[in-house]
């Protein structure tokens, strides 16, 4: 029998955390009463009253309580990082778009005059995807398929036939710029229970039209606003605002507009620097943090005042990363990210990439859906480079207390900016600030106000202290 080593040293009943015990980082969270003590490997944390932090670190109580639950904490985090199967597809049925948004992650030439998928080809693609998922997912599983873009409603015939024929298997969604959402289209999508995501970048035409314009240069704010009114009560609606230096200062007003319109779910996503247009519009991180947090404050005030909640999905996901990391709903702030391991993207020519962000980077195409089985595509080097990217191997992430609340996204923009996947998030400072803000939310007792109703359903509490 080998030597037994105790990680908590010292005389019996007086054990202390003397070096080989659990490690906790101390994080200033910007709250008057609390600091965070974080075991980064398991994403475990405790908010300690400032004056007692040293007692927690030096006495055996916290290390012992933590060690009792360490395996369970680690297993839950491990599952969401490495134990999931692909169960969603972002599917571009056309390369074309009727808009020319300056930050798009798809190459301009393809968006102007690229390929459309004819109905028969799209149906053939869905058949191949269904074959793959039937062979990998549990019997009752219904994977998600989001028609994405470019603008998917430019090829309505193909999209509608796909939804009609496969709606008993896939759960469909459509991410659209909303300019082609006429009455017939809305009625069809609603009647089939499709999720509908709308892109809107500002609370006014003056702001929104700075980045989202037609090829001729005219803005589409008024059309999108009309669609928003038509969809106000639709439960499958979400709104995505891409945050750039052009609209960052308007984020609080954006929250007011969405709340006024009855929108329940929105994402305020900082623009990715995967293509040159996006890189040129990336907001300053300090400015982004300032206005993003002001928008979150505004969402809380509106909830307090009206009882009606607007969930900012990307922040809610980070909060979940703190309180229930295995239950996160978005996959960008997990390492490895969800690209290629929880979902993948299919382009209009059948090319398959780990994520839509990689569709414009051919070196990350695993191959073609019409030529190679999906099960083989997701094992190619193009995929495993992304699915193997973990914060433990990145500098400075490997030593960062919030590495599992951030995930060092996004590999596509990291690669485009640095020429390698082995670099931290371009928005590193912002993500760290966001983690600190999330701890403030918890310290102020506001957690539930920022999350979905019933977010604890199906979860099991792990009581450490």
């Amino acid at each position: 029998m080998g030597q037994v080593v105790s990680t908590l040293w010292g005389p019996s009943r007086q054990s202390v955390n003397a070096g080989a015990g659990p490690h906790f980082d101390v994080l200033e969270v910007g709250h008057g009463d609390y600091v965070a003590l974080i075991n980064a490997d398991t994403a475990f944390w405790i908010l300690s009253p400032r004056g007692e932090a040293l007692d927690y670190l030096l006495s055996p109580e916290l290390p012992r309580a933590f060690q009792d639950k360490e395996a369970k904490l680690a297993a839950d985090l491990n599952t969401v990082r490495f134990g999931l199967l692909p169960s969603a597809v972002y599917f571009n049925p056309t390369e074309r778009c009727n808009l020319n948004c300056t930050y798009c992650y798809l190459p301009q030439e393809a968006r102007r005059s690229g390929t459309d998928m004819e109905p028969a080809r799209l149906l053939s693609a869905l058949a191949r995807l269904q074959d793959y998922f039937v062979g990998t997912l549990p019997e009752a599983a219904r994977p998600q398929l989001v028609f994405h873009g470019s603008e998917p409603l430019l090829v309505k015939d193909s999209v509608f036939q796909g939804i009609e024929q496969y709606r008993d298997y896939f759960r469909f969604g459509v991410q659209t710029n909303a300019t082609l959402l006429d009455r017939t289209t809305l009625d069809f999508l609603k009647s089939k229970g499709c999720a509908i995501g709308i892109s809107l970048d500002g609370p006014s035409a003056e702001v929104a039209n700075r980045t989202r314009r037609t090829w001729a240069g005219s803005g589409v704010f008024n059309q999108v606003s009309r669609a928003l009114v038509d969809l106000a009560d639709y439960p499958g609606l979400n709104v995505i605002a891409t945050v750039t230096r052009e609209n960052v200062a308007a984020l609080p007003e954006m929250v007011e507009l969405l709340h006024r319109q009855g929108v329940a779910n929105a994402l305020l996503n900082p623009v990715r620097g995967t293509q040159a247009g996006g890189r040129a519009l990336m907001p300053d991180q300090a400015e982004l943090a300032h206005f993003f947090f002001a928008a979150l404050d505004r969402a809380f005030e509106l909830y307090e005042k009206t009882g009606s909640r607007l969930v900012i999905g990307n922040f809610a996901n980070l909060l979940l990363g703190l309180v229930a990391p295995g239950a996160r709903r978005l996959m960008c702030d997990i390492s490895p990210c969800g690209g290629g391991r929880c979902f993948f993207a299919v382009g209009a020519n059948g090319e398959v990439a780990p994520c839509s962000e990689f569709l414009g980077l051919p070196e990350f195409h695993g191959g073609n859906l019409f030529e190679t089985p999906v099960a083989e595509l997701v094992k190619t080097g193009a995929f495993t480079r992304v699915t193997g990217r973990v914060v433990e191997e990145l500098t400075p992430c490997k030593a960062c207390a919030v590495r599992h609340f951030c995930g060092a996204p996004c590999p596509a923009e990291v690669y485009a900016i640095n020429g390698t996947l082995d670099a931290p998030a371009p928005y590193c400072d912002f993500y760290a600030a966001q983690a600190r803000y999330a701890f403030q939310v918890i310290a102020r007792g506001r957690l539930d106000a920022y999350l979905w109703e019933g977010w604890r359903d199906g979860l099991e509490e792990i009581v450490v202290m």
């Binding site: 969603a88 979400n238 099991e460 509490e461």
Partner: protein, 37 residues
């Protein structure tokens, strides 16, 4: 001199997904259910 104890209580909140249940959640933009291996 004895140190005064803070009136603030420590806070720690952590939930896990049920061991045999599906993960709640997932996806880049919308919400779906992830499937465990």
């Amino acid at each position: 001199m004895a140190k005064e104890k803070s009136t603030k209580k420590p806070i720690s909140i952590r939930y896990a997904c049920a061991p045999n249940g599906d993960q709640v959640g997932l996806s880049h933009y919308l919400m779906a259910e992830a499937k465990k291996k």
